[in-house]
């Protein structure tokens, strides 16, 4: 895959391992009403992984988009290999050796995996005709090298979020650039894939590539990053080697206070069975799922990517109605064929894909938050009781610390983590009895994460029943009363809190 020339280039990089590759200074970027970045600096050295840390909305993605030529900074300088540069656009940045994996996935759904990866760089013959065979072969090569198992000919829309994220990674790597920016590349991945990604990163590092790595997952930081920089509210806080500090230090730098307990599990009184599922099946996707859920209980659902966890949740909520099986609520069998029905039975469902099934991107934060609760209350003779709703939404957004100038802001302009908080708020505002959360803390910063955990736990203590799907095992282990594990569309076991461990879960999940 790697041509002679780039091999030579890589050797040159190696020779200069540790040199400054990219240096930025005094960067300022304003959006109307928000100063996203102010006098920010940052330095990336060759052959290292430099992590960026900071709360949601701290300005990490914005900074990276500036480096990748997508935004132009209002002020400041960018030096690449000691030379002042200003990019005219993403193409310019790409050509100068800066590639980026975006936080919001940027793939073309109706094109194949291979087409997505090689777009603009397709193998063509003399008269410009694309050689698809070679393109698939190139993709296969790349995937083999990176150890990814996805069909290059599959259309991207048919892939799961996790698979798409792998494709994005492969696409960025295929550019063979000097600087590789990864904006939360693992937000949809489980441990196995993360491990895998880290192997890829180490390999790239060894070749002298500089990697900027944004994540909210602390453990990743210590595992992969050589140094890290912290941002707070658009300002630069500091840079340190990751070997010099502890978790708590970083959190203090990020949030400006201590977070003592990530998983503040509150002891709840486990009540009666509220939801009972028996033999739930969606033909072709998952089979024969049975479990009981009690009031006050948090049921964690674990499994590898693509094991069908999300599909079970979708079936429970009537998004894709089950083809067979029974759902009982308070002991009576109910039909759930649409989300509206599910909501009438007191269910709420936070979907895993923010962009596709979560946000109304063009609408305001307020509209996004209130939408689900309009179906049964807060409406009098067709008119929405906006006053009452505003108060509720304001309260909720304070509780969850949504970072925004005001509630009329379009949700599109929020940082990823803040969007997630708005969606959680949407569902909490419906006062559900059964709350289904699919990757609830995806892309959420540590502070807010602890906050959300506390909230879930408190709600459970008040008698709410929770189903929580998560790919983060610490979260599952920390929060759940019981843990259901899935493997390839089948339930492989249910563990009690006291018997569960990382190893046991992985055994059941991987088989």
């Amino acid at each position: 895959m790697i041509s002679e020339r780039s091999m030579a280039a890589i050797d040159r990089f190696k020779a200069r391992q540790g040199d400054t590759l990219l240096e930025i200074e005094g960067i300022r970027k304003e959006f109307p009403g928000v100063v996203a970045l102010d006098d920010v600096r940052f330095r990336l050295r060759r052959g290292t992984v430099h992590a960026l840390m900071g709360e949601n909305g701290a300005g990490k993605s914005t900074l990276m988009k500036i480096i990748a030529g997508i935004y132009t900074p209002d002020q400041g300088t960018i030096r690449l290999n000691g030379e002042d540069v200003s990019f005219t656009g993403p193409l310019d940045a790409l050509e100068r050796g800066i590639a980026m994996i975006h936080q919001e996935l940027a793939l073309m759904p109706y094109m194949t995996v291979a087409e997505n990866i090689w777009i603009r760089r397709e193998p063509v013959n003399r008269i410009g005709i694309i050689d698809h065979g070679r393109m698939f072969a190139m993709t296969q090569d790349l995937f083999d090298r990176l150890g990814i198992r996805i069909d290059p000919r599959a259309e991207v829309r048919l892939l799961t979020v996790a698979q798409r994220q792998m494709v994005e990674i492969a696409k960025a790597v295929s550019h063979e650039s000097e600087v590789l920016i990864m904006d939360e590349p693992t937000s949809a991945l489980t441990e196995t894939e993360v491990e895998h990604l880290f192997r890829i990163i180490r390999d790239l590092k060894a070749r002298g590539i500089g990697i900027v790595y944004i994540t909210h997952k602390m453990n990743e930081l210590f595992e992969i990053a050589d140094e890290f920089s912290v941002f707070r509210d658009g300002t630069y806080v500091g840079t340190h080697a990751s070997s010099e500090v502890t978790r708590d230090d970083i959190i203090r730098m990020m949030v400006g206070r201590e977070i003592t307990d990530m998983f503040p599990k509150q002891e709840a009184e486990i009540g009666d069975v509220i939801l009972s599922v028996e033999g739930l099946t969606v033909e072709g996707t998952f089979h024969d799922i049975s479990f009981d859920l009690r009031k006050g209980e948090i049921l964690g659902v674990a499994g590898l990517v693509g094991s069908g966890r999300s599909n079970v949740a979708e079936a429970l909520f009537g998004v894709v109605p089950a083809t067979s099986g029974k759902i009982r609520i308070d002991g009576t069998e109910v039909a759930v064929t649409t989300p509206l029905q599910a909501m009438r039975h007191g269910m709420a469902f936070l979907t895993e894909d923010r962009k596709d099934t979560g946000c109304f991107l063009q609408l305001s934060i307020l509209e996004n938050m209130q939408m689900a609760m309009l179906c049964d209350n807060m409406v009098r003779r067709g008119f929405v009781e906006q006053g009452r709703i505003n108060d509720l939404c304001d309260g909720m957004s304070k509780t969850l610390r949504v970072k925004t100038p005001n509630m009329e802001e379009r949700i599109e302009n929020l940082s990823g983590g803040n969007q997630q908080k708005v969606l959680i708020a949407r569902w909490l505002l419906t006062n559900p009895r059964i709350l289904i959360l699919d990757e609830p803390t995806r892309g959420i910063d540590v502070g807010a994460k602890a906050e959300i955990h506390r909230l879930i736990s408190r709600l459970a203590a008040q008698g709410l029943a929770v189903i929580m799907i998560s790919s983060e095992l610490p979260e599952i282990l920390g929060m759940s009363d019981r843990i259901m594990v899935m493997h390839e569309g089948h339930m492989t076991g249910i563990l009690n809190r006291d018997e569960a461990s990382q190893v046991k879960i992985m055994e059941l999940a991987a088989r």
């Binding site: 909501m343 991107l361 063009q362 509209e367 939408m371 179906c375 929405v384 100038p405 009329e408 302009n413």
Partner: protein
Amino acid sequence: MESVQIEPVSRPRRGIPQDLGILLVLFGVAATFELLGWIMQGQSFLMNPQRLTIMILQVSVVGIIAIGVTQVIITGGIDLSSGSVVAMTAMVAMSFAQAAGYDRAVYPGLTGLPVIVPLAVGLGLGLLAGIINGQLIARTGIPPFIATLGMMVTARGIAKWYTKGQPISFPSDSFAMIGSGAWPVFIFLAVAVIFHIMLKYTRYGKYTYAIGANPQAARVSGINVQNHLVKVYAVAGLLSGLAGIVTAARAETAQAGMGIMYELDAIAAAVIGGTSLAGGRGKIFGTVIGTLILGLMMSGFTFLRADAYYQEIVKGVVIVAAVVADVYRQKARTRTS
């Protein structure tokens, strides 16, 4: 089918709300005509109450349709059938509105009926057309473009077939009243106010925006997307029916060729007024302004006694320029604020 917005897009705007932007464009166009009026005709364009009334009068039928179309576009759909539905309802309503004793009436036994009859028939027929559109789109999942294109062709066919192309005339005075004087303007403005409120303050409105912004998310949020879509198209049909009644009453005749291309004018009014064909965005206020811009151009050119040939050429340029001006104004705001 929206413009490819590549720059990190439209920031929240403080100060002048976005609506008012297009209002500025309206003033700009009006001021240009005023200026040219003094230069070319030596008289004021705007300081003529009669002209101002006419300006609105002549676009009020398109305006009524445009309001219905706006909410359809907000759901991410489109309605191509409005112009034809206008013709169909005009024909059918008129056939029940003929003056007492008119001897060549379509239904000689049914002349001189109370005005409520043709009104009910017209509105009902429009509603029916809208419901069919909505059901097709919501239940079968075919693109709105095709469903309403089919209705466009079919409704026009029905209008022609109804009396084999013969126009229907001589309405009763009470029916003709609906289209006389400034009545069409009142009806237009009343409809605008009602729908402004509907879209902004009711659940109906919130759901309309939600579906346009993200139908999947709307469904997961407990909205019965299909039912709501049927409602939205039904309302659009109803308004087309109303437009048909008004236009027939105003012309005191109904003919199968009525309302040709109105759908395009209506969509244009909505889009000029800031409604996004990608769905999720749009305001009745903007549509009203968009309609007025179209009306302004119609009167303005006649006023300036522009050659009819140049008129058309210039009209296209002005529509584009109006929207370009609005886009640039927005960009400028974004930069400075």
